[in-house]
Symmetry: C2
Subunit: 132 residues, 2 copies
DNA sequence: TGCTAGTTTATAATGATTCTAAAAAGGTGT
DNA sequence: ACACCTTTTTAGAATCATTATAAACTAGCA
Protein backbone atom coordinates (compact mmCIF):
# COMPACT_ATOMS: atom_id res chain seq x y z
CA UNK A 1 0.00 0.00 0.00
CA UNK A 2 0.79 3.67 0.33
CA UNK A 3 3.72 3.63 2.72
CA UNK A 4 5.30 0.26 2.00
CA UNK A 5 7.35 1.53 -0.91
CA UNK A 6 8.28 4.71 0.87
CA UNK A 7 9.76 2.69 3.72
CA UNK A 8 11.36 0.07 1.49
CA UNK A 9 12.98 2.73 -0.62
CA UNK A 10 14.55 4.15 2.53
CA UNK A 11 15.93 0.82 3.63
CA UNK A 12 13.39 0.61 6.44
CA UNK A 13 11.37 -2.58 6.75
CA UNK A 14 7.67 -1.83 6.51
CA UNK A 15 6.68 -3.25 9.87
CA UNK A 16 3.17 -3.08 11.22
CA UNK A 17 4.19 -0.45 13.77
CA UNK A 18 5.95 1.77 11.25
CA UNK A 19 3.03 1.63 8.85
CA UNK A 20 0.63 2.54 11.61
CA UNK A 21 2.81 5.42 12.69
CA UNK A 22 2.97 6.57 9.05
CA UNK A 23 -0.81 6.67 8.99
CA UNK A 24 -0.97 8.77 12.15
CA UNK A 25 1.72 11.13 10.89
CA UNK A 26 1.00 11.43 7.19
CA UNK A 27 -2.65 10.47 6.52
CA UNK A 28 -3.84 13.93 7.47
CA UNK A 29 -5.22 16.87 5.59
CA UNK A 30 -2.84 19.29 7.26
CA UNK A 31 0.67 18.90 8.51
CA UNK A 32 1.24 19.35 12.24
CA UNK A 33 3.77 19.89 15.00
CA UNK A 34 4.17 17.41 17.82
CA UNK A 35 6.22 16.15 20.72
CA UNK A 36 6.79 12.46 21.36
CA UNK A 37 4.22 12.73 24.12
CA UNK A 38 1.65 14.21 21.71
CA UNK A 39 2.35 11.47 19.22
CA UNK A 40 2.03 8.75 21.83
CA UNK A 41 -1.47 10.02 22.68
CA UNK A 42 -2.49 10.26 19.01
CA UNK A 43 -1.30 6.70 18.46
CA UNK A 44 -3.23 5.43 21.47
CA UNK A 45 -6.38 6.98 20.02
CA UNK A 46 -5.96 5.91 16.43
CA UNK A 47 -4.20 2.54 16.66
CA UNK A 48 -5.86 -0.53 18.15
CA UNK A 49 -2.76 -2.41 19.23
CA UNK A 50 -0.14 -1.05 21.58
CA UNK A 51 3.07 0.44 20.24
CA UNK A 52 5.82 0.77 22.80
CA UNK A 53 7.27 4.14 23.64
CA UNK A 54 10.74 2.93 22.60
CA UNK A 55 9.37 2.12 19.14
CA UNK A 56 7.83 5.56 18.86
CA UNK A 57 11.19 7.14 19.66
CA UNK A 58 13.01 4.79 17.29
CA UNK A 59 10.58 5.43 14.47
CA UNK A 60 10.52 9.19 14.83
CA UNK A 61 14.30 9.28 14.79
CA UNK A 62 14.46 6.95 11.81
CA UNK A 63 11.94 9.09 9.92
CA UNK A 64 13.79 12.25 10.83
CA UNK A 65 17.06 10.80 9.57
CA UNK A 66 15.35 9.89 6.29
CA UNK A 67 13.91 13.38 5.97
CA UNK A 68 10.24 12.49 6.52
CA UNK A 69 10.13 14.60 9.66
CA UNK A 70 11.94 17.72 10.81
CA UNK A 71 13.01 18.77 14.27
CA UNK A 72 12.10 22.32 15.18
CA UNK A 73 14.77 24.31 17.02
CA UNK A 74 13.04 25.71 20.07
CA UNK A 75 13.70 25.87 23.79
CA UNK A 76 11.43 23.45 25.49
CA UNK A 77 11.90 20.50 27.78
CA UNK A 78 10.52 18.34 24.99
CA UNK A 79 11.68 18.03 21.41
CA UNK A 80 9.25 19.30 18.78
CA UNK A 81 8.86 17.64 15.40
CA UNK A 82 7.11 18.75 12.25
CA UNK A 83 5.41 16.71 9.56
CA UNK A 84 5.79 19.72 7.28
CA UNK A 85 9.20 19.10 5.76
CA UNK A 86 9.07 22.03 3.38
CA UNK A 87 11.51 24.89 3.80
CA UNK A 88 9.52 27.04 6.22
CA UNK A 89 9.62 28.98 9.47
CA UNK A 90 7.67 29.27 12.71
CA UNK A 91 5.83 31.55 15.00
CA UNK A 92 6.03 30.47 18.60
CA UNK A 93 3.20 31.67 20.78
CA UNK A 94 4.85 32.03 24.18
CA UNK A 95 1.58 32.07 26.09
CA UNK A 96 -0.13 29.08 24.47
CA UNK A 97 3.18 27.29 23.80
CA UNK A 98 1.97 26.60 20.28
CA UNK A 99 3.85 26.61 17.00
CA UNK A 100 2.37 28.15 13.88
CA UNK A 101 3.77 27.69 10.39
CA UNK A 102 5.24 30.66 8.64
CA UNK A 103 5.67 29.85 5.00
CA UNK A 104 8.81 30.78 3.18
CA UNK A 105 6.71 33.20 1.17
CA UNK A 106 5.50 34.92 4.36
CA UNK A 107 9.04 35.96 5.14
CA UNK A 108 10.98 38.29 2.90
CA UNK A 109 14.11 36.79 1.32
CA UNK A 110 16.88 36.23 3.85
CA UNK A 111 20.38 37.08 2.84
CA UNK A 112 23.18 35.78 5.04
CA UNK A 113 26.06 38.13 4.34
CA UNK A 114 28.65 36.56 6.64
CA UNK A 115 30.52 33.51 5.37
CA UNK A 116 32.30 30.90 7.46
CA UNK A 117 35.40 29.39 5.86
CA UNK A 118 35.05 25.76 4.86
CA UNK A 119 31.42 25.58 5.87
CA UNK A 120 28.29 25.77 3.81
CA UNK A 121 24.77 26.66 4.80
CA UNK A 122 22.51 23.69 5.31
CA UNK A 123 19.40 25.50 6.46
CA UNK A 124 18.10 28.88 7.54
CA UNK A 125 15.35 28.77 10.14
CA UNK A 126 13.48 31.72 11.57
CA UNK A 127 11.68 31.58 14.90
CA UNK A 128 9.31 34.48 15.60
CA UNK A 129 8.24 34.66 19.22
CA UNK A 130 4.76 36.05 19.84
CA UNK A 131 3.32 37.75 22.90
CA UNK A 132 -0.05 39.31 23.59
CA UNK B 1 31.66 47.90 42.89
CA UNK B 2 30.75 47.24 39.29
CA UNK B 3 27.89 44.77 39.63
CA UNK B 4 26.39 45.73 42.96
CA UNK B 5 24.20 48.46 41.54
CA UNK B 6 23.23 46.36 38.56
CA UNK B 7 21.93 43.68 40.87
CA UNK B 8 20.33 46.06 43.35
CA UNK B 9 18.57 47.91 40.55
CA UNK B 10 17.07 44.59 39.46
CA UNK B 11 15.84 43.76 42.93
CA UNK B 12 18.45 41.05 43.30
CA UNK B 13 20.59 41.05 46.43
CA UNK B 14 24.25 41.34 45.54
CA UNK B 15 25.40 38.16 47.21
CA UNK B 16 28.96 36.91 47.02
CA UNK B 17 27.92 34.12 44.66
CA UNK B 18 26.01 36.39 42.30
CA UNK B 19 28.86 38.89 42.13
CA UNK B 20 31.32 36.12 41.38
CA UNK B 21 29.08 34.71 38.67
CA UNK B 22 28.76 38.23 37.23
CA UNK B 23 32.53 38.41 36.97
CA UNK B 24 32.72 35.08 35.17
CA UNK B 25 29.92 36.03 32.80
CA UNK B 26 30.51 39.72 32.15
CA UNK B 27 34.16 40.56 32.91
CA UNK B 28 35.25 39.36 29.50
CA UNK B 29 36.48 41.03 26.37
CA UNK B 30 34.06 39.06 24.18
CA UNK B 31 30.59 37.74 24.81
CA UNK B 32 30.14 33.98 24.71
CA UNK B 33 27.70 31.10 24.51
CA UNK B 34 27.48 28.52 27.25
CA UNK B 35 25.57 25.69 28.83
CA UNK B 36 25.16 25.36 32.60
CA UNK B 37 27.81 22.66 32.46
CA UNK B 38 30.23 25.00 30.68
CA UNK B 39 29.56 27.71 33.21
CA UNK B 40 30.05 25.36 36.14
CA UNK B 41 33.53 24.50 34.81
CA UNK B 42 34.40 28.16 34.21
CA UNK B 43 33.34 28.99 37.77
CA UNK B 44 35.42 26.16 39.23
CA UNK B 45 38.46 27.56 37.43
CA UNK B 46 37.95 31.22 38.21
CA UNK B 47 36.31 31.23 41.63
CA UNK B 48 38.11 30.06 44.76
CA UNK B 49 35.12 29.07 46.87
CA UNK B 50 32.54 26.54 45.81
CA UNK B 51 29.23 27.63 44.31
CA UNK B 52 26.55 24.97 44.32
CA UNK B 53 25.02 23.81 41.10
CA UNK B 54 21.58 24.85 42.34
CA UNK B 55 22.84 28.40 42.79
CA UNK B 56 24.26 28.42 39.28
CA UNK B 57 20.88 27.38 37.90
CA UNK B 58 19.06 29.89 40.10
CA UNK B 59 21.38 32.71 39.11
CA UNK B 60 21.31 32.03 35.40
CA UNK B 61 17.53 31.94 35.44
CA UNK B 62 17.36 35.12 37.50
CA UNK B 63 19.74 36.88 35.11
CA UNK B 64 17.81 35.63 32.11
CA UNK B 65 14.56 36.93 33.56
CA UNK B 66 16.18 40.32 34.12
CA UNK B 67 17.50 40.37 30.57
CA UNK B 68 21.21 40.00 31.37
CA UNK B 69 21.34 36.69 29.53
CA UNK B 70 19.48 35.22 26.59
CA UNK B 71 18.48 31.67 25.90
CA UNK B 72 19.32 30.47 22.42
CA UNK B 73 16.65 28.37 20.70
CA UNK B 74 18.43 25.26 19.52
CA UNK B 75 17.92 21.53 19.69
CA UNK B 76 20.30 20.11 22.20
CA UNK B 77 19.98 18.09 25.36
CA UNK B 78 21.36 21.11 27.20
CA UNK B 79 20.07 24.67 27.22
CA UNK B 80 22.37 27.24 25.63
CA UNK B 81 22.70 30.76 26.96
CA UNK B 82 24.31 33.86 25.51
CA UNK B 83 25.99 36.77 27.25
CA UNK B 84 25.42 38.77 24.08
CA UNK B 85 21.98 40.20 24.68
CA UNK B 86 21.94 42.35 21.55
CA UNK B 87 19.41 41.58 18.85
CA UNK B 88 21.41 39.06 16.84
CA UNK B 89 21.35 35.65 15.19
CA UNK B 90 23.40 32.45 15.11
CA UNK B 91 25.25 30.03 12.98
CA UNK B 92 25.22 26.53 14.38
CA UNK B 93 28.09 24.35 13.26
CA UNK B 94 26.53 20.89 13.25
CA UNK B 95 29.88 19.09 13.27
CA UNK B 96 31.63 21.01 16.04
CA UNK B 97 28.36 21.73 17.88
CA UNK B 98 29.46 25.34 18.22
CA UNK B 99 27.46 28.53 17.98
CA UNK B 100 28.79 31.57 16.12
CA UNK B 101 27.27 35.03 16.34
CA UNK B 102 25.64 36.46 13.29
CA UNK B 103 25.11 40.14 13.80
CA UNK B 104 21.90 41.75 12.82
CA UNK B 105 23.83 43.63 10.16
CA UNK B 106 25.09 40.34 8.69
CA UNK B 107 21.54 39.36 7.84
CA UNK B 108 19.44 41.34 5.42
CA UNK B 109 16.30 42.92 6.88
CA UNK B 110 13.65 40.36 7.75
CA UNK B 111 10.09 41.16 6.94
CA UNK B 112 7.42 39.00 8.52
CA UNK B 113 4.44 39.41 6.22
CA UNK B 114 2.01 37.16 8.07
CA UNK B 115 0.18 38.63 11.05
CA UNK B 116 -1.43 36.72 13.90
CA UNK B 117 -4.53 38.34 15.37
CA UNK B 118 -4.10 39.69 18.87
CA UNK B 119 -0.42 38.83 19.03
CA UNK B 120 2.62 40.94 18.55
CA UNK B 121 6.13 40.01 17.64
CA UNK B 122 8.50 39.83 20.58
CA UNK B 123 11.60 38.63 18.76
CA UNK B 124 12.82 37.30 15.44
CA UNK B 125 15.65 34.82 15.68
CA UNK B 126 17.48 33.19 12.80
CA UNK B 127 19.40 29.94 13.14
CA UNK B 128 21.69 29.07 10.24
CA UNK B 129 22.89 25.48 10.35
CA UNK B 130 26.34 24.86 8.88
CA UNK B 131 27.83 21.71 7.41
CA UNK B 132 31.19 21.00 5.77
C1' DT C 1 10.71 -24.15 6.30
C1' DG C 2 14.70 -22.35 8.28
C1' DC C 3 18.11 -18.57 8.55
C1' DT C 4 19.64 -13.98 9.63
C1' DA C 5 19.59 -9.21 10.15
C1' DG C 6 16.55 -5.82 11.51
C1' DT C 7 12.90 -4.52 14.75
C1' DT C 8 10.08 -4.31 18.84
C1' DT C 9 9.57 -4.31 23.60
C1' DA C 10 9.73 -3.91 28.70
C1' DT C 11 12.61 -2.20 31.61
C1' DA C 12 16.65 0.04 33.41
C1' DA C 13 19.87 3.72 33.10
C1' DT C 14 21.16 8.41 32.15
C1' DG C 15 21.42 13.09 32.85
C1' DA C 16 19.73 17.83 32.67
C1' DT C 17 16.80 20.33 35.33
C1' DT C 18 13.75 21.33 39.19
C1' DC C 19 12.26 20.77 43.88
C1' DT C 20 12.76 20.68 48.98
C1' DA C 21 13.58 22.27 53.27
C1' DA C 22 17.01 23.63 56.39
C1' DA C 23 20.98 26.68 57.11
C1' DA C 24 23.17 31.02 55.91
C1' DA C 25 23.38 35.73 54.62
C1' DG C 26 21.56 40.37 53.26
C1' DG C 27 19.08 44.48 54.59
C1' DT C 28 16.71 47.42 57.78
C1' DG C 29 15.75 49.49 61.91
C1' DT C 30 16.92 50.00 66.78
C1' DA D 1 26.27 45.50 67.62
C1' DC D 2 21.78 43.22 67.73
C1' DA D 3 17.31 41.58 66.55
C1' DC D 4 14.22 40.56 62.93
C1' DC D 5 12.56 39.24 58.59
C1' DT D 6 13.21 38.09 53.93
C1' DT D 7 15.94 36.35 50.36
C1' DT D 8 19.38 33.25 49.01
C1' DT D 9 22.29 29.24 49.16
C1' DT D 10 22.88 24.55 49.56
C1' DA D 11 23.01 19.33 49.54
C1' DG D 12 20.48 16.14 48.29
C1' DA D 13 16.24 14.10 46.40
C1' DA D 14 12.86 14.03 42.79
C1' DT D 15 11.37 14.53 38.09
C1' DC D 16 11.06 13.27 33.56
C1' DA D 17 12.46 13.26 28.64
C1' DT D 18 15.41 10.51 26.35
C1' DT D 19 18.60 6.69 25.48
C1' DA D 20 20.52 2.12 26.34
C1' DT D 21 19.97 -2.88 27.06
C1' DA D 22 19.13 -7.29 25.87
C1' DA D 23 15.76 -10.70 25.03
C1' DA D 24 11.80 -11.92 22.07
C1' DC D 25 9.89 -11.29 17.65
C1' DT D 26 9.52 -10.69 12.54
C1' DA D 27 10.39 -9.48 7.64
C1' DG D 28 12.64 -10.95 3.76
C1' DC D 29 14.80 -14.47 1.48
C1' DA D 30 16.95 -19.01 0.24
MN1 LIG E 1 15.48 18.13 23.72
MN1 LIG F 1 16.34 22.32 27.42
ZN1 LIG G 1 6.07 23.80 10.77
ZN1 LIG H 1 25.13 34.93 20.34
Amino acid sequence: MKYIDKLRNSGLRPTKQRLQICEVLFDTEKTFHFTINDLEKKIKKQVSNKISLATIYNTVHAFEKKGYLKQIPINSNQTYFDTNISDHHHFYDLKDEKLIDLEHSDVGPINILKKIDGKKIKSVEVLVKLED
